[in-house]
């Protein structure tokens, strides 16, 4: 992962997304641009549409209106696999394949999608597993690992596809407190390497450290956005003020 010169074109351009789940409007005209190497954190109350926004970026959810363009490719049914090849995703519940070893979890897509030879895929997988400090567990099955370890493998699995954009959907929400920092450190290192990422998280301290920009979502809309310092210290809307005070009753946002 080298730092290539950032092109002027944004990596992601989202315009006017509308998404309904049955009678509920989950996204209401969301527009968003993500620049190369930009780290954006999405926060907001549950049900505000954060996850759905992420899932619209790689076609796991299809919006009823609006467009998503990733690296010049407009997301359609026909192009969805090409877009997914560029977009890595990390889930709250890890979703490792339980019947495959850690190593196979990391090589299955590079072999099947990128057409790598098995030996080559294994080499790449070992590199990334090493980066998430899981190389010595390569032969194990996910069921033999702790939650934090599984999530680190899931991050390595996504990285093995050499994505240009990483989507992280509450990567630490299902973890025991003592494992959260391990995973956050990995994501932090990834951010420092210049990976473009969109991360839904409730870890405000983490948001402060990595985010170039924070989006606050509520009721399917981006209510407010800006650098984390300004957003957390001087929220411009009542909705954000209320959200922040509820998240950390009686205290300032963790630094």
């Amino acid at each position: 992962m080298s730092l290539e010169p950032a092109p002027l074109q944004p990596l992601v351009r989202v315009t006017g997304l509308d998404k309904w789940h049955g009678d509920v409007k989950v996204l209401n005209g969301v527009s968003l641009e993500l620049h190369w190497h930009e780290r954006v954190v999405v926060c907001g109350p549950s049900g505000s549409g954060k996850s759905t926004l992420l899932r619209c970026l790689n076609g796991l959810d299809l919006p009823q209106a609006g467009t998503v363009v990733v690296d010049g490719i407009e997301l359609t049914r026909a192009s969805v696999e090409r877009v997914r090849r560029q977009v890595g995703m990390v889930f709250q519940s890890f979703n490792l394949f339980p019947h495959m070893t850690v190593l196979d979890n990391c090589t299955v897509a590079p072999i099947a999608v990128r057409g790598l030879r098995a030996a080559e895929a294994r080499e790449i997988a070992h590199d990334y597993l090493d980066r998430v400090r899981m190389a010595r567990h390569a032969h194990k099955y996910p069921g033999q690992l702790s939650g934090g370890e599984q999530q680190r493998v899931a991050i390595a699995r996504a990285l093995c596809m050499n994505p240009t954009l990483m989507l992280l959907d509450e990567p630490t929400s299902a973890l025991d407190p003592e494992m959260i920092q391990d995973v956050l450190d990995i994501v932090l290192a990834l951010a420092e390497d210049g990976m473009t990422m969109l991360c839904v998280t409730h870890e405000m301290g983490f948001a402060r450290r990595v985010a170039d920009r924070v989006l606050f979502m509520d009721h399917g809309e981006i209510v407010e956005q800006g650098p984390p310092g300004r957003l957390f210290d001087a929220p411009g809307t009542d909705r954000l003020r209320m959200f922040l005070s509820r998240r950390l009753p009686g205290g300032p946002i963790a630094r």
Partner: protein
């Protein structure tokens, strides 16, 4: 030591089985069985000799009918399960209609309709084909439900993670969903196949010389019913045990990555 404990558990299981088998054999002593007659007829029952018309008979025919019907039932079941899981209302309707019809009528009646009633409208099928068709269609309907429930039990997150990695549909089906579904499908499917092995005795009513048919005819000619029927039962049981062992192996194969529970 979990490995140690597992070994002890297995040893005790084997010993108990052995004790129960000896008890059963001892109980049979009181029946004053004519073991010589069983020994004389066993090669025929097992199908080690061909029938007078040169065709396989006895247990060999039972195994043939069961395996052939198993393959056909599996094919039918896969199609039916795909139909039931499909968004196409036509495919869904065909699959549910078929499954309902063949699960809702007795196998014996199905065999008789195919063998005895169809000729009335000009469709004449041999005994063997009739038996195979009836068994395949009947068990295909049950197996389809087993397959469907197995596929549906694979968490949605598995498919989503695979999609997010850009895996093509067939890779998701064969490498992600199928192996995980199989782990859940194999135990009930194994039970179905054991049950099919025994239901294959129904084709004897069409005069096929399979295990049950031979046992009955030998018994009738010498009035040695106890000997012949017990011998047939024992052969069926032995075959079932082979099926169960195969099932166990498959369960282990597809249970990889799932923590081992004692007794497996």
């Amino acid at each position: 030591m979990p490995v140690e404990r597992r070994r002890h558990f297995r040893e005790k299981v084997w010993l108990t089985w052995l004790a129960l088998a000896l008890l059963l054999a001892w109980g049979c002593r009181g029946l004053h069985l004519d073991l010589g007659y069983i020994r004389e007829k066993l090669p025929f029952l097992l199908g080690l000799r061909l029938a007078p018309d040169g065709f396989i008979q006895g247990a060999a025919l039972t195994i043939f009918v069961t395996s052939a019907a198993m393959v056909c039932a599996l094919a039918v079941a896969l199609l039916t399960a795909a139909g039931r899981l499909s968004n196409n209302p036509f495919a869904f309707a065909v699959a549910t209609f078929y499954a309902s019809l063949f699960r809702g009528t007795p196998l014996l009646v199905q065999v008789l309709i195919i063998y005895l009633a169809l000729p009335q409208i000009g469709i004449v099928l041999g005994a063997l084909s009739s038996g195979l068709i009836a068994l395949s269609l009947n068990y295909g309907a049950y197996l389809a439900e087993t397959i469907r429930s197995g596929v549906m039990a694979v968490p949605a997150g598995q498919r989503e993670a695979a999609l997010a990695l850009g895996l093509p549909r067939w890779v998701i089906t064969w490498k992600i969903v199928a192996p995980q579904a199989l782990r859940l499908i194999i135990p009930p499917a194994g039970a179905l196949f054991v049950s099919m092995l025994k239901d294959s005795s129904l084709v004897s009513i069409m005069g096929l010389w399979e295990l049950n048919f031979l046992a009955q005819s030998y018994a009738r000619s010498t009035f040695r019913y106890m000997e012949m029927l017990l011998a047939a039962a024992l052969v069926y049981w032995a075959l079932s045990i082979v099926f169960e062992l195969v099932q166990l192996r498959l369960e282990r194969r597809f249970g990889r990555g799932i923590p081992v529970v004692i007794g497996r």
